[in-house]
């Protein structure tokens, strides 16, 4: 009661503090949502293209930050191995897409549509490519640069028609686009080149054994299970993303803790006569600590409520203004931040509580 009333007694200061703390919380929500969006966008391609073996050049562990070049002819050899049903070749390369004289970088996946693997994980609009003159763009990329299905785009001097828009292909720093394998090879200029093979096993065949046969039969290649390869890509994505995320989140947490500590300390200093009187009246120290902790938790809770109210409309605006920023939030993320903020508020109250010791009885006497 006292804790809340004291805060309410200074409405402007309370509003500013809640605003400051809420901004920090929004920053944390935002970072987590960006991380989740980028994480999903980065690995969704691998997750949704389920293969019994992902075959890459030896020592290449992922497609995000690794270079793998394999000879397409090896696909035929792998396809002849016992238990192998099909082998789909994929060629991944960075390219530039032009429209109206401007070039945009994309992560181009050339695949074999007829084999059903290596293509867009999900379509938001339109259809997949069928011929060499077609392209599927990431939906966020298309929204940002104003592409839509039916548009003609210029890819390294070749004219392509946008036939579809894909989802789960926005890796934050870059977006996927999909063309036929044959067309992708023409861009590179080297025939018979691929980045990886996606191998599917016949029904009842032992996928482990197939991967073993690939490794022994093709020493220059490495074969990963779907689970391994997905884990490799997630690990790679995290190693590039998480340090930045942690750094900014840590800064936000420090700012939040400092703001809260400052407010609580100022509140104690301003109310030092109250605290001294309470001490004189026989208040246990725990009661005084409790007041400060309650105030910290109150501010944190109010700030979280404000942050939640602000964040979702803000996220919608951000996604409209910057479509490549894919934000994904979950109840788990909100709860994680809520818990962290409550812990930080407890930390700030502990910092401020030290001031209570320096409040002396004599201060209240005339």
């Amino acid at each position: 009661m006292y804790a809340f009333r004291t805060l309410r007694g200074q409405p402007l200061r309370l509003a500013l503090t809640v605003g400051g703390v809420a901004s920090c919380i929004v920053l944390m929500f935002f970072l987590l949502a960006v991380y989740r969006g980028a994480a999903d966008g980065s690995v969704e391609y691998v997750r949704r293209n389920t293969a019994d073996a992902w075959v890459l050049q030896k020592n290449a562990t992922n497609i995000l930050r690794g270079s793998s070049l394999v000879a397409a002819a090896q696909a035929e050899g792998i396809g002849r191995l016992p238990g192998v049903r099909s082998v789909a070749s994929v060629l991944l390369l960075l390219s530039t897409l032009g429209k109206g004289g401007e070039a945009r970088t994309i992560f181009l996946a050339g695949y074999e549509p007829e084999k059903g693997l290596g293509g867009p994980p999900e379509l938001a609009r339109g259809r997949t490519v069928r011929t060499d003159g077609e392209i599927v763009l990431d939906a966020a990329f298309a929204r940002k640069f104003g592409f839509k299905t039916g548009d003609a785009v210029d890819l390294q001097g070749r004219r392509l028609e946008v036939v579809g828009l894909s989802r789960g292909t926005n890796a934050f720093v870059i977006q996927y686009a999909f063309v036929t394998l044959r067309f992708a090879r023409t861009l590179v200029g080297i025939p018979g080149l691929a980045t990886c093979f996606l191998v599917t096993a016949e029904a009842g065949a032992d996928a482990d054994a197939i991967r073993g046969r690939i490794r022994s039969g093709f020493p220059a290649l490495e074969a990963y299970s779907q689970v391994e390869f997905l884990a490799n890509n997630i690990r790679e994505m995290r190693s590039g993303f998480l340090p930045l995320l942690y750094t900014v989140a840590a800064l936000g947490a420090v700012v939040l803790t400092v703001i809260l500590s400052l407010l609580l300390s100022v509140n104690i200093l301003e109310r030092r006569k109250d605290f001294a009187v309470l001490k004189i009246l026989g208040s246990p120290l725990g009661f005084l600590w409790g007041l400060v902790v309650k105030q910290a938790i109150l501010i944190a809770t109010l700030s979280q409520a404000a942050a939640i109210v602000v964040f979702f409309p803000l996220a919608a605006v951000i996604e409209r203004v910057a479509p490549e920023v894919s934000l994904k939030s979950s109840a788990g993320q909100i709860l994680t931040v809520a818990l962290a903020v409550e812990l930080m508020s407890l930390g700030s109250s502990l910092v401020s509580i030290r001031r209570l010791r320096r409040i002396y009885y004599m201060e209240v006497f005339s």
Partner: protein, 271 residues
């Protein structure tokens, strides 16, 4: 706000003449260490004194030379007795009150509060003692601005260990007893000075204290308000048989006091 006048209490008091107790001539104890002086502490004039200061000296040590606020002061206060401490600013009145409340420890001499030696009582126990047995009234009232009058009183009850369910009711009864029921739901900032001090008195009496300490209780009040407030405080303390020590420079309060002690430069100079 009707109640017995000061004269009624003085005429009707049923205890010993206060001037016979407590005050010790300072000259006789000069240069003696009361802690080493045989008999100095084991010589209570009245065994059931609420508070007893025996040759108490209090020195505050700042960065420079220490300041002696009290010099070998000895007093005892009995239940139901009102002792008025008169003296100018800086004479040591407030220091004496803080020592009597167990808020400070003497530099020399001893303070006995409800039979306990303050110097040897842990701070946590003194805190409980204040919460349960001592009431405080301050010159500037020092009510908690954020709380209503009733909540201010309930807070003191909380510290005294009152049950949550009983606090509000007890606070309300006290407001009726003190004839300030209309103030119960009001915030201090909406009250006059006199009203605030009445609420402060209610807070001081909430825990049914055996000792009430008032520091310049009329200092911020107009003459009439001051008179009403001291009459209320005096009457309520008497009704509860609580010892009341009032520090003031207001000579008019002598009319209410059972005993008046004068302090000058930290020493008792007369009665």
């Amino acid at each position: 706000m009707s109640g017995p006048g000061p004269a009624d209490f003085i005429k009707g008091r049923a205890f010993d003449p206060p001037l016979a107790r407590g005050f010790r001539p300072q000259a006789s104890t000069a240069e003696k260490d009361p802690r080493t002086e045989p008999g100095a502490l084991a010589d209570p004039v009245v065994a059931d004194a609420v508070v007893r200061l025996n040759r108490v000296t209090k020195t505050f040590n700042g960065s420079g030379p220490g300041t002696t606020a009290l010099r070998e002061v000895s007093i005892e206060v009995l239940p139901g007795e009102m002792v008025l401490l008169l003296g100018p600013s800086g004479s040591g009145k407030t220091t004496l009150l803080t020592l009597a409340a167990g808020l400070a420890r003497p530099t020399a001499g001893s303070v006995t509060l409800f039979g306990r030696c303050v110097e040897h009582t842990p701070a946590s126990e003194l805190q409980r003692l204040r919460a349960k047995s001592i009431g405080f009234v301050f010159q500037t009232f020092l009510l908690i601005d954020a709380l209503t009058a009733e909540e201010n009183v309930a807070l003191a009850l909380r510290f005294a260990g009152g049950r949550r369910s009983e606090r509000a009711g007890k606070a309300r009864r006290l407001f009726y007893d003190l004839d300030i029921a209309p103030l119960a739901r009001r915030l201090p900032r909406t009250m006059s000075q006199g009203e605030k001090q009445r609420v402060a008195i209610a807070r001081a009496l909430a825990n049914d204290p055996a000792l009430v300490l008032a520091d310049e209780p009329t200092g911020s009040l107009e003459t009439r308000q001051g008179f009403d407030v001291i009459r209320l405080l005096h009457g309520q303390a008497k009704a509860r048989n609580a010892a009341l020590i009032v520090a003031s420079h207001d000579l008019r309060l002598k009319e209410f006091a059972d005993r008046t002690l004068r302090l000058q430069d930290g020493a008792l100079t007369g009665m």
